[in-house]
């Protein structure tokens, strides 16, 4: 047998060793690449990639089948961790609120094509500087009536005490209403405070009167109703949730009305923080809303998705305006229900907030008679309603300071009209351009 020269053997041995090393290196490299890909997919799903990396990775997912498959696979494992969460039952009314979402929103074409809205379209101009809320605030020492001033502080402190008892982490949010009931029944009655403050109310344009009326009439009547229920123990999770939202809104509205009421929290409210329309949809969908002796069930129809206000103080004012409209319409609905709509682009440059409901002709005429002119004698029981309308007018003046109230009314920046048996109340508000950047607000941990 012919034997190979030792140099060839050495060469073969060497090359086989090289092959092994190269193969091992390739395997290592492939493993490294696979691990890297896997790591990147995990980072993506965990939200750990930077904005730039995320976008570039999503572009890769869109074009690369194997990356897409890998992400789906890891996502499968990742989401299975959800099953480790302690089982909890959602409040049954979450189901009904969720299913309201499947209802077809109202067809608003008749309203949007009406003369009033046409007039708004023709006359609407953006204010040179967008209003960020807070201009309606006064000092509490401007309140001449000492008992009114005391009542204001008492109410604010009382509500600060209520808020933690109804938060999403409170025992009441998990069905133990004991502490809430005790607090609501043992402490003072907001209903009594309301009686003391509101007699007599007149639709005054005085800023101090407006701040008081906004604190009294926007969300407080509904809140008072639910707190009375809490005091009797006759409540469930739905009512606790409603108290939470109303209480949080009421506190913000009060701070935005009286700048010395709680300066520390007001300073937080004045920071730039975007509020989206989803915050309004969350709290209004399926909400039972009351205004003194009447109530109505709210539903949300056409709601655009996007930003609606830039600071908490602006959101408080927007909220207050919506409460004013809801108070006026809920008490007059002939079906017991009313709808809220937030419409963008129907009038370029602004967002329309609309409430509407089936309302009888008589009731509509009653609404039409409302005026902020205190010289007009109002029918019995309408003074509060006139104040609500007057509050809206005041807010519109702040939002669009380059127009007089009369101009705003004539140009339908706000108004009331009847279309096809429905009464519509609305106000326009300057839109926020989507390009805006700033912090994002959530309803979540309210700044009390």
């Amino acid at each position: 047998m012919h034997s190979q020269p030792s140099s060839i053997c050495r060469y073969q041995k060497h090359s086989s060793l090289v092959c092994e090393v190269i193969t091992a290196q390739i395997v290592t490299d492939i493993n490294f690449i696979l691990e890297n890909e896997r790591q990147q997919a995990i980072d993506y799903l965990m939200g750990s990639l930077s904005e730039v990396e995320r976008k570039s990775y999503e572009a890769l997912i869109a074009t690369n089948i194997s990356t897409k498959k890998l992400v789906a696979e890891i996502s499968d494992d990742w989401s299975s961790l959800a099953l480790l969460a302690k089982p909890a039952e959602p409040n049954p009314d979450l189901r009904s609120r969720t299913l309201m979402l499947t209802q077809e929103p109202a067809d608003l074409s008749s309203f949007l094509e009406s003369d009033c809205i046409d007039q708004l379209r023709e006359n609407y101009t953006q204010p040179s500087q967008r209003y960020l809320g807070g201009d309606g605030a006064v000092e509490s020492n401007e309140i001449k009536n000492v008992s009114q001033k005391d009542g204001l502080f008492r109410t604010y402190e009382h509500l600060l005490g209520i808020l933690p008892l109804v938060s999403g982490q409170s025992p009441a949010a998990f069905g133990d209403f004991g502490a809430l009931q005790k607090f609501a029944s043992e402490n003072f009655s907001i209903e009594n405070e309301l009686q003391g403050w509101t007699d007599p109310l007149c639709p005054d344009q005085n800023p101090v009167a407006h701040s008081l009326q906004r604190s009294l009439l926007a969300s407080l009547p509904s809140l008072s109703h639910f707190l009375d229920l809490a005091g009797t123990g006759n409540i469930g999770l739905s009512e606790v949730r409603r108290i939470f939202y109303l209480c949080r809104d009421q506190l913000k509205i009060m701070r935005a009305s009286f700048r010395d009421l709680d300066p520390q929290r007001l300073a937080q409210d004045e920071l730039i923080r975007i509020h989206g329309t989803h915050l309004l949809r969350q709290k209004w969908t399926g909400a039972r809303h009351t205004f003194f002796d009447s109530s109505g069930l709210a539903s949300c129809g056409n709601f655009f998705e996007g930003p609606i206000s830039e600071r908490c103080v602006e959101f408080a004012e927007y909220d207050s305006n919506l409460y004013c409209l809801a108070n006026l319409i809920a008490s007059r609905s002939s079906t017991g229900g009313f709808q809220l709509e937030l419409i963008k682009d129907a009038v370029p440059g602004c967002v329309l907030a609309v409430t509407h409901a089936k309302v009888s002709q008589n009731m509509h005429q009653e609404l039409s008679a409302l005026s902020s002119d205190s010289s007009i004698t109002l029918p019995d029981g309408l003074s509060k309603d006139a104040c609500l309308w007057s509050l809206l007018k005041g807010s519109m003046s702040r939002g669009f300071p380059h127009h007089s109230q009369e101009e705003l009314s004539e140009a339908s920046f706000f108004g009331k009209q009847r279309v096809d048996g429905e009464t519509y109340l609305w106000f326009a508000w300057p839109e926020i351009e989507n390009a805006h950047s700033g912090a994002v607000a959530s309803t979540v941990k309210p700044e009390q």
Binding site: Q39, L45, E89, A173, R273, V444
Partner: protein, 185 residues
């Protein structure tokens, strides 16, 4: 995608009567449990769940079977939105961040669309698999999944290097995958 899941999504997409109610009855419980676990706040958890159903109803096309299984996708967006909220709580006010920046993350997923019974089985298996992970891997997965901490935050919290955090997460995920393989079609 399993047939049950496929039907859920197709019925939503086709606007079939009661399709949202059926989807809610099948998935709201687990979505809510997850949201409550992450957020610890009932009202916030309800808001997240309601928002997701609204999103699915309005934009059913945001899901595609190519992204994997429908139920996983629902759980991924539930978790993502909860984490966005957690981070928003921590962040409070930081200028310069675009609105909904985090929520714009696409949601890819896949999973078993099982209804309650098979989910209960899967849950038991996942618990078992999770409990069998080494403590250090379990800890980083919990901090990441339920507390929403990113790698750097976990690294700071546990005084570990970034690389160690990443590899513990990856190893933990790999072990879970192996343990759960038998459960999946």
């Amino acid at each position: 995608m399993s047939p049950i899941e496929s039907i859920h999504w197709e019925r939503i997409r086709d606007r079939a009567p009661d399709s949202l109610a059926d989807l809610y009855d099948g998935f709201a419980g687990v979505m809510f449990s997850l949201a409550l676990e992450v957020l610890g706040d009932r009202w916030e958890a309800e808001e997240v769940v309601q928002d997701i159903f609204a999103y699915v109803w309005k934009k059913p096309e945001s899901y595609s079977p190519l992204k994997g299984k429908f139920s996983s996708w629902l759980l991924v967006i539930t978790r993502n939105r909860c984490i966005d909220r957690l981070r928003s709580r921590r962040r409070k006010v930081v200028h310069g961040e675009p609105i909904e920046a985090l929520s714009n993350r696409q949601d890819y997923s896949s999973e078993d669309g099982a209804e309650h019974a098979s989910r209960a089985d899967e849950k038991t298996s996942i618990r078992k698999a999770f409990d069998q992970l080494p403590n250090d891997q379990r800890e980083v997965l919990e901090l990441s999944y339920f507390k929403g901490l990113n790698h750097q935050e976990i690294s700071d919290h546990l005084s570990l290097s970034l690389g160690t955090v990443k590899s513990r997460i990856r190893l933990g995920m790999d072990k879970l995958r192996r343990a759960l393989t038998g459960l999946r079609p």
